[in-house]
Structure formats: structure tokens, C-alpha cells
Symmetry: C2
Subunit: 347 residues, 2 copies
């Protein structure tokens, strides 16, 4: 069979602030792959169905000498992120053509992964779209679920503030918190997103671009738990409106991801002392590693909540791998509405 085109999204240069398409990230159509004869060397040939665009990827686009929790991307190589794929051919035990798997895979139409690659079979008993497995049933959903259930003791009647509440993680946090009987305050960056927050049950939603976050929290707080997705002035306002003995879960700080070397200066750190707060930074991988059964409890519970419609889920779908860079860059403009996923193939 003739070689098949294998379009890819490449990481091409280290950005100092906001990455620019064509400079730091490019779309490459030069590669091909022979799907029938390409050597697998004991591994698996995968066809990408969908991948996720997440803010944390910005952290991998850095000078490799800067230590962080994930290795730096290598210029010239494809971006890598959570992906759902179909097995086309396999030399690895436990995987056969037609299976579906999730894993950290290159942003490419096809990929060959080595025999020890960390890919996980997905059965999709809930019968949801496959792309859900890189969103609410994948890393962002796991982040919300394990962060909320393992890092803080939730009590009905408490007040939680979730920044970026319409985002991939935030909206799941809002809904899980509602199911636990908490009062939920949440901010988002457009009136349309605020309307969505109200739809999914948020008690007090506001547009941080037109409202004053501090005033909103004074009105609806004080805050027992702050789920931090953004950093910057929102964090300062949250610190000022925390309740005594409150907890801040630091999941993301998108405000600073593109201001490397000059992060937003936080004025209200002293509230941690004066109000006896606890602040926990975390990575979902470490929370999962501490689980006896890995993600099993999440797979069961969240799968059921989504299948039963008890948790709503909204995707922002970008169709075609050529839109992968846009899906990622839109995150920093607040232009996505719903979980950003790139649909590469239907099956």
C-alpha cells in the first residue's frame, strides 16, 4: 500500500510569552507512514481519534534547563498530550486491532508506540463519544474528581469558589461540589459562560471581566474552599475573602503561564497566616499514583454520573488535526467554551 500522509502539530521553538502559530508551533504535512508495513518492533500502531488541548502544555514549552513537574518538549518533535486512539495493528499482548486506548501520544494522525508505552484500554460501557475520554472521563475529569475528593474534606453547606468555572476542570469541580451539597461561586470570562454556569447549578456566577471579583466574593462569601485555576488578581481576591481555616487547592495558574519571569505579584499571602489557611498545589498524576486501584473508582463513578446525565459536559470541538494549534492557543484568549478537544478522525 502507498504511504499515507501523517500530518502532525510540531513544537518548533521556545516561546518567551504567548506562543505564536507558525513560529513556536507549526503544522507539518511532510511526513508519511505505511500503515501496512511500518515496523512495530513489538509495539502498537495507533490511529488518533481525538486529543485534548490543555493549558498545562504551556509549561512544557520551556528551556529544558528549567526544572518542572513535566519534562520540557523537544523542539522539532510533535506536541504530546492525552489522546484517544484506535489500534490498527499490534504486536503487543493485550492490544488488538479495533481496540480503543488512551495515552500521552503525539499530535499526529498516526503513531507507533513502543511495547512499554503507557496506553490504557477503554471499553466505553457508557456509550459516550470517544472524545469524552480525553475530557470529563480523562485527565481533566480526574483532576477535578481526585483533587476535590482527596485533598479536602467536603461538608454540605460549605462555600466553594471555582475560578474558570466553565473550563474543562472547573465545570466538573462545580458540579461535583453541588452534588456534595456545597454552595458554589464561580467566575468565567463571558456572559454566555456565566449563563452556562447557572445552568449547571452554580449558585453565584459572575463575569470577571465586567464584575469586580473582590466585591462578588464579599457578597457571596466567605469562601471555605477556593479551587484555583487562574492565579493573578483572582487569587488575591480569593485570599482576601477566605474563611478562617479555609483551603486553597492550586490546580492551575493560567494567568501566569505566558508571563514567565514576571508573574503577577500576590499581595495577600499574609491571609494564609492571619486566617490559618491551608494551600495545596497538586498534580493529578500524583493523586492517582496514591490510589490503590488507580483510576478505577473514578472510571466507575464518573462514567455513571455522565451516562446518567447527573453531570453535564460541554465540548468545544475543533475538527481536523490542522486546528490543533488553534485549539491550544485559544485557551489563553478564553476563546474556548467547553473542553477543548481536537477531533482527528471519527473512528
Amino acid at each position: 500500500m502507498a504511504p499515507t500522509p501523517n500530518p502532525r502539530i510540531l513544537y518548533t521553538a521556545i516561546p518567551q510569552s504567548l506562543p505564536v502559530f507558525g513560529e513556536h508551533i507549526t503544522f507539518d504535512e511532510s511526513a508519511t507512514i505505511d500503515l501496512d508495513t511500518a515496523e512495530l518492533n513489538g509495539g502498537v500502531l495507533l490511529k488518533t481519534l481525538a486529543f485534548s488541548a490543555d493549558p498545562y502544555l504551556r509549561g512544557r514549552m520551556r528551556d529544558p534547563s528549567v526544572q518542572s513537574y513535566t519534562p520540557a518538549f523537544v523542539p522539532g518533535e510533535p506536541i504530546v498530550n492525552h489522546t484517544i486512539a484506535t489500534v490498527l495493528r499490534s504486536e503487543r499482548e493485550g492490544f488488538k486491532a479495533g481496540d480503543h486506548v488512551v495515552g500521552l501520544l503525539p499530535w499526529a494522525a498516526y503513531s507507533i508506540v513502543p511495547p512499554d508505552a503507557r496506553i490504557k484500554p477503554v471499553s466505553n460501557e457508557a456509550g459516550v463519544p470517544w472524545s469524552y475520554y480525553v475530557g470529563i472521563l480523562g485527565m481533566p475529569g480526574q483532576t477535578a474528581y481526585f483533587g476535590l475528593k482527596r485533598l479536602v474534606e467536603l461538608k454540605a453547606g460549605q462555600t466553594i469558589f471555582v475560578s474558570a468555572g466553565s473550563g474543562a476542570v472547573g465545570n466538573v469541580v462545580c458540579q461535583l461540589a453541588k452534588l456534595e451539597g456545597l454552595k458554589v461561586i464561580s467566575s468565567a470570562g463571558s456572559d454566555e459562560k456565566v449563563a452556562y454556569l447557572k445552568e449547571i447549578g452554580v449558585d453565584h456566577a459572575f463575569n470577571y471581566k465586567t464584575a469586580d471579583t473582590n466585591a462578588e466574593l464579599q457578597k457571596a462569601g466567605p469562601v471555605d474552599i477556593y479551587w484555583e485555576n487562574v492565579g493573578g488578581p483572582t487569587l488575591d481576591a480569593a485570599l482576601a475573602n477566605m474563611n478562617r481555616f479555609g483551603t486553597i487547592l492550586v490546580c492551575g495558574m493560567i494567568h501566569d503561564y505566558n508571563s514567565r519571569g514576571d508573574p503577577y505579584p500576590i499581595k495577600n499571602f499574609g491571609a494564609i497566616l492571619s486566617k490559618s489557611l491551608t494551600v495545596k498545589g497538586f498534580l493529578v498524576n500524583n493523586l492517582i499514583a496514591a490510589e490503590k486501584e488507580g483510576t478505577a473508582v473514578f472510571d466507575r463513578e464518573m462514567g455513571k454520573l455522565v451516562a446518567d446525565g447527573k453531570i453535564q459536559y460541554k465540548e468545544h470541538r475543533y475538527t481536523g488535526i490542522e486546528n490543533g494549534a488553534k485549539a491550544f492557543l485559544d485557551l489563553f484568549k478564553g476563546d474556548n467554551f467547553g473542553k477543548a478537544v481536537v477531533i482527528v478522525a471519527d473512528q
Copy 2:
């Protein structure tokens, strides 16, 4: 008997930044008390032996409309803090003339406390100077002990950084950490204090006024536990040099106590996310309230460590109640060396 002079240190006005003697704090010699006939109304007449001067008192010198963990002082009334005193007369069961007690008492030569006042008898089986009971065997010692033993899991071989290591709390933290097998890094504000830190076993001590904190921590770190006494640029340097999964215990932020409304802006909050740190603000009172036996375990263990000379202790003694304000104000200039105590009477 003729009335006896009862000199006092009064809080007279709300300071905006550094309190000034004669304006915000004054020495008052106008009051008298008749030690034989003053009405006790079921309470206890106490003669002050010594009281403690602590940075946290600055937080009580504020506009009462500002909420915080301790009530605001009332202008015109004496400053109140941890004091060791002798009972002169008592109408309260369990207290008799000659007993020693500790409690939050006014900065005055004598005081009458109501029947429900929280005063605690002290037996001093260790035979140490009475003033130790407002220092290493009192609140500052308890802060170090319960903070370190209850808020973080100490493991031999870990590295702890203690700012203001020659201070009342810091020096106890350094020594307790050494006893647990930790490597101790500590900063202080003079070469004399640095020499003292080395004497009490600190592995890497430096003068933050002449050395670069960030460079010192790069050399001696990374830091698993940061005991925060100061805030400001030291906190930013600590955040930059924390180890993954490290813990920051926020005990004090003296850098900001007199910069109300304009605290030092923290640039490295993002390290909490990127290094999965946990940050805990705490108050010793809440830690003690969570103890089944109150301070009993501390009284036993720390009393023995001090009596056996396993923990060294240094006091900066100010003799005479008239020096109470100076003892307090010196804290913000770094002019104390050792625990600041004011000796009001010998027995």
C-alpha cells in the same frame, strides 16, 4: 496600707506603620492599687514577674473593624500578653498566695483578674528562671513544638530552612529539628546571631543582610520544609528553592506587620503549583486546642529538654516595666538577640 504605684504600658493610638513610643504606646505612672484592700470579687490579685514581647502583638494594634485572629486592642487600655505572675491574694479556689501562674495579663506591675480568667498554675519542677514560662516553656516554645510535631511529618535527612532562626520561635525550631535528624539552614540579621545559630547546631547559617538568601538556599538546599517567620523577599527565595512535595509552615511574617495596606508582593506563588507544595498557616492556640491533654506533653518534654541542657535558650532581658515598649519596638529593628522578656519583679 497606702496605695502602691501600679505602673503600666498603655496602648494609646492605632499606628499606621511602625508604632512610636509616646504616641501609640506610652508608659503610665498615674495608677495606684491598694494591695491589701482592693476588691477581688472572687478573682485573684497578681504581681507581675515577667512578660513577653512578641511580634504578633502588632496585629492587635489595628482598627477594630479589621477582622483578624485576635481581637484589636482598645486604645487607653494596657497592652496584654503572656505573663508570669505571683498570686498575692486569691478568692478563687485552686489559687493561693505564693502560687505562680501564667496567663494573658496586662502590662502592669499588678493586676486583678476575674474568677473565670484563663490563668494556669506553674510548678517549675525544672527549676528554671520564671521568665522561661513566657518564652521557651511558654507560647513561643509551644509554637515551635506543636507546629513542627503536628503539621509536618519530620524525617531524618530532610532539609529545613528556618528564617529568623535566632528569634524566640526560630531558635527552638532549629534545635528541635536537629534533634529529629534534619539538616538545618537558618538566616538571621547579624553576624553575632549567625555565630549563635552555629553554636546551637545549625548546619548552614547566614546573615540575610550581607548574603543573598537565594544564593545561600541554592547552595544548601533544596528545602523540604520552610519554617516561615518573616515573609517578604525571604519567602520568595524560599519558594524558589523548595523541593517537590515540600511544606511551608507559616508562623509569622514580621516583614509585613508594619506595612499594612502595602504588603510585599510575592512573585513565586506559582512554585506551590509547579512543585506540589503544601502551605499551612497556623496559630498555636488552635493546635493546643486540638490536643487531648492541652500542653501536657509539651510541658513534660520541653521542660526536660531545657532542664537537661539538650535545648539551649537565650533571653534578651529588659529590666523594669518602663522598658516594656522598648522590648516590643526593638523586635521590628532586629535589635533583640534572644527571646525578648521584660523582668518586672524578681519574685
